[in-house]
């Protein structure tokens, strides 16, 4: 069975990136990082962006989040051009972005300053339970493991009920066992919250396990080589032939052999 | 990371020149405006410097100051680095010696002046001793704390390859601790330069520090006072820049990220 290219219905489009170019200039030297990237993401979709390290996927995600301005092209969310960071699309960072000077509670509460106290408490309790950090409310990040810190960052992001979650290799610093567990957790949370998720990773397995669609990026200067529809329903059997077929397809697309 | 866009290349010259020009202008006009008879304007300072240069005093004094710093600081480094490394290597030794160091360290070199004069008399030797004292403690402290900061994996790798303790110290610990030692050395040089001024004001009759006091005492030549101060500042900066250069040497550059 061939890999299917995908088509999104315009009505449900949440994110639209058109012909995005990004060139970095430092001390007179120009480095093109993104080259004519076009991408559309539907509302409530889980999209993974996959590509080798350093290919520019983090740059693309930063541009979507409004932290960088593209040198060319346009990015629109809900039809509005992206002009800066916004609490409606929360970035979950690669390096540990939790604030070390706040407790677990303090971190989750961070973005909730516009809400009345009762609502804040409710949300804190809800998301602590959702990410599985019950009992650690008063702990400081230095006392938590890597996996726990990552959960905390997800909880902090979710507490403000964003429309979109942008995750930049969030499980990169974790060991592979914890990573498997965290993937399951993330899916569970996503099914409850149904935000639009854009998840950047260099791990092809991770992408095929998690995403509705996978956007495969080329090396620098990067563009989207291919978008693969993952048509396996959750929970996904990691040894099913369809899973392996999709995965190998992406490996081939990236020019990688299936044997070591 | 800071706000606003990355500054353009020409801004790297524009802003410092603008700020310095503003500073000089404010200085100049406040001297005129306050009609002070004593405090020098920037031009007066410049003329004062030229006068010192003409009389040959400027270079002679700079030379004297640099000489004293070189001697005092040099000795502090030569004694302090091995001592610090040893104390860092043998925690037992450090535990014994450290309280003494911590108690001697806050005692200003100025406080040592009477003792120093008794021991070494008035003159160069006293100044060099005071500079030595001032530079000694930061160097030792930096070396002592540099050693335990060497990652254990490096030490294990060395032992794995069969190095004996002195070899380990010289071939693994010292190069690994070198960035931190350099930080301590740089700090100590800054302190030495500060103390040089103090020592020269009190104990000798030549040098930039002496010039500051002498210019005032023998004739209220505040233009020379400020000229001396600026010379002290510029040379101190130059010394510090030399150290910054050191950081670029390949074998230590790894220790100074960004």
């Amino acid at each position: 069975m061939p890999l299917t290219e995908s088509v999104t219905t315009p009505a449900a489009t949440k994110l639209s990136a058109q012909h995005v170019h990004m060139t970095f200039t430092r001390d007179g030297k120009s480095t093109p990082v993104l080259n004519d990237v076009t991408l559309e993401v539907a509302k409530g979709e889980f999209l993974c962006i996959v590509g080798p390290s350093g290919c520019g996927k983090s740059t693309l995600l930063s541009a979507i989040g409004g932290f960088l301005s593209p040198t060319g092209g346009e990015i629109r969310i809900d039809g509005q051009p992206v002009s800066g960071p916004d609490p409606r699309r929360i970035f979950v960072f690669q390096e540990r972005g939790v604030f070390p000077w706040l407790t677990v509670e303090g971190n989750i509460e961070f973005g909730l300053f516009k809400l009345p106290r009762a609502e804040r408490q409710r949300r804190i309790a809800h998301y602590i339970e959702m990410v599985g950090l019950v009992g650690f409310e008063k702990a400081y990040p230095a006392e938590l493991s890597g996996g726990m810190k990552q959960r905390l960052e997800v909880a902090r992001a979710l507490a403000v009920n964003p429309d979109m979650l942008l995750l930049d290799e969030p499980f990169g610093a974790l060991d592979s066992i914890t990573r498997l567990i965290m993937r399951g957790e993330l899916l569970r949370i996503w099914r409850e919250e149904r935000n639009t998720v854009i998840f950047v990773t260099h791990d092809i397995d991770e992408a095929v396990q998690l995403a509705d669609r996978v956007a495969v990026m080329s090396g620098r200067p990067a563009n989207i080589q291919q978008i693969v529809n993952i048509d396996i329903p959750h929970p996904r059997d990691l040894s099913s032939p369809r899973y392996l077929e999709l995965r190998n397809g992406i490996l081939t697309q990236l020019g990688l052999a299936h044997q070591v | 990371m800071n706000s606003l866009a990355e500054p353009r290349w020409w801004e790297k010259f524009l802003w410092p020149v603008a700020a310095s020009a503003l500073f000089l202008a404010v200085w100049h006009y406040s001297v005129i405006y306050s009609a002070t008879k004593v405090f020098p304007s920037p031009l007066a300072v410049e003329r004062g410097l030229a006068e010192l240069a003409r009389k040959g005093l400027l270079w002679a004094y700079i030379g004297d100051s640099l000489r004293r710093v070189a001697l005092g600081y040099g000795m502090a480094a030569v004694i302090g680095v091995p001592l610090g490394l040893t104390l860092g290597w043998y925690p037992a030794a450090n535990q014994v010696v450290n309280p003494v160091l911590q108690m001697l360290r806050p005692i200003s070199p100025i406080a040592w002046i009477p003792v120093s004069i008794v021991l070494f008399g008035v003159g160069d030797l006293t100044a060099v001793f005071l500079i030595f004292l001032a530079a000694f403690f930061p160097i030792v402290v930096a070396c002592v704390s540099g050693v335990p900061n060497v990652p254990t994996i490096f030490r294990r790798a060395g032992r794995n390859l069969g190095l004996t303790a002195p070899q380990l110290l010289a071939r693994v610990v010292f190069p690994a601790a070198l960035p931190q030692i350099i930080v301590g050395l740089r700090l100590a040089l800054g302190i030495a330069w500060l103390v040089m001024v103090a020592a020269e004001m009190i104990a000798v009759d030549s040098g930039l520090g002496y010039l500051v006091i002498d210019a005032r005492n023998s004739g209220k030549r505040y233009d020379l006072v400020v000229a001396a101060m600026l010379t002290i500042g510029v040379i101190g900066l130059a010394l510090d820049l030399c150290f910054r250069r050191l950081r670029n040497i390949r074998s230590v550059r790894w220790g100074f990220p960004q």
Partner: protein, 261 residues
């Protein structure tokens, strides 16, 4: 049973070692002094006598208080000015570009070199000496603040912006807590510098304080025992100040900076 007894005994010996070392040094000092022909330099015994002398005349506490007073004023004034200024300069790249040369030239100028100017501006006395202490603290604190801001990991700032914080909130809820540990370390080190400089600053014709004591004791009668007594006290108080600041650094919500890698 026996093992436990041995280890506590060993523990005690280990703790006593530095004290034993100090005792040995004191003995050597005393021997060196009594053997020297000039008999000018005091030994530890004389120094102790000097301290008692000061206590008897009611001067010890008075002088300590005077020196601490000057240090506090100069240090606090420098902190109040230098820290906000430094945080601002560190935040705006262009401000740093603008002021860096000026800062770099003024920094290496010893506070003592300012004495003639200080006397010119403030006359002889307390204000001038507080001014010198202020100067000696200002530049180190300024640089500490600049450096602390520049070292804030950009993730924190980005996260703050992401959650829609206003600039004022960004300063109060992200910038300030993030720089706090480094600022406190800088304050501790600078306090140590201030304590060293107070000795020199008190040479400007004030008439109280530990630095004054050192100069005066020598000038008015070669009382080197008082000189050394003053040095000992300076050393002890300096140590106590440092320990005090370090315990501040140990406060729990600040400790995060040291347990992170």
């Amino acid at each position: 049973m026996l093992g436990r007894g041995l280890s506590t005994k060993r523990n005690l010996l280990v703790r006593l070692r530095p004290i034993a070392f100090i005792a040995v040094l004191l003995i050597l000092w005393q021997i060196a002094v009594s053997r020297s022909p000039a008999h000018l330099l005091p030994g530890p015994w004389d120094a102790a006598g000097g301290i008692l002398d000061l206590v008897r005349h009611g001067l010890l506490l008075k002088y300590i208080a005077a020196s601490l007073f000057r240090v506090t004023w100069g240090f606090v004034a420098a902190a109040v000015l230098a820290i906000p200024l430094g945080l601002t300069i560190g935040w705006y790249r262009r401000a740093e570009l603008a002021f860096n040369p000026l800062i770099q030239i003024f920094r290496p100028i010893s506070p003592l070199a300012w004495i003639p100017i200080a006397i010119l501006w403030f006359g002889v006395g307390d204000i001038a000496s507080v001014f010198l202490i202020f100067l000696s603290c200002f530049f180190p604190l300024l640089l500490t603040a600049i450096n602390a801001v520049q070292r804030i990991p950009s993730v924190y700032v980005n996260a703050g912006r992401n959650f829609g914080l206003s600039p004022a909130h960004l300063v109060y809820r992200v910038l300030y807590p993030a720089v706090l540990p480094q600022l406190i370390t800088g304050l501790r080190i600078t306090l140590g510098v201030a304590w060293i400089v107070v000795v020199a600053a008190e040479m400007i014709a004030v008439n109280s304080g530990l630095g004054f004591l050192i100069v005066d004791a020598r000038n008015a009668g070669n009382r080197y025992d008082l000189v050394v007594a003053a040095m000992v006290i300076i050393g002890i108080i300096g140590l106590l100040l440092d320990l005090g600041m370090r315990s501040l650094e140990g406060a729990k919500s600040l400790r995060w900076d040291y347990s992170e890698d």
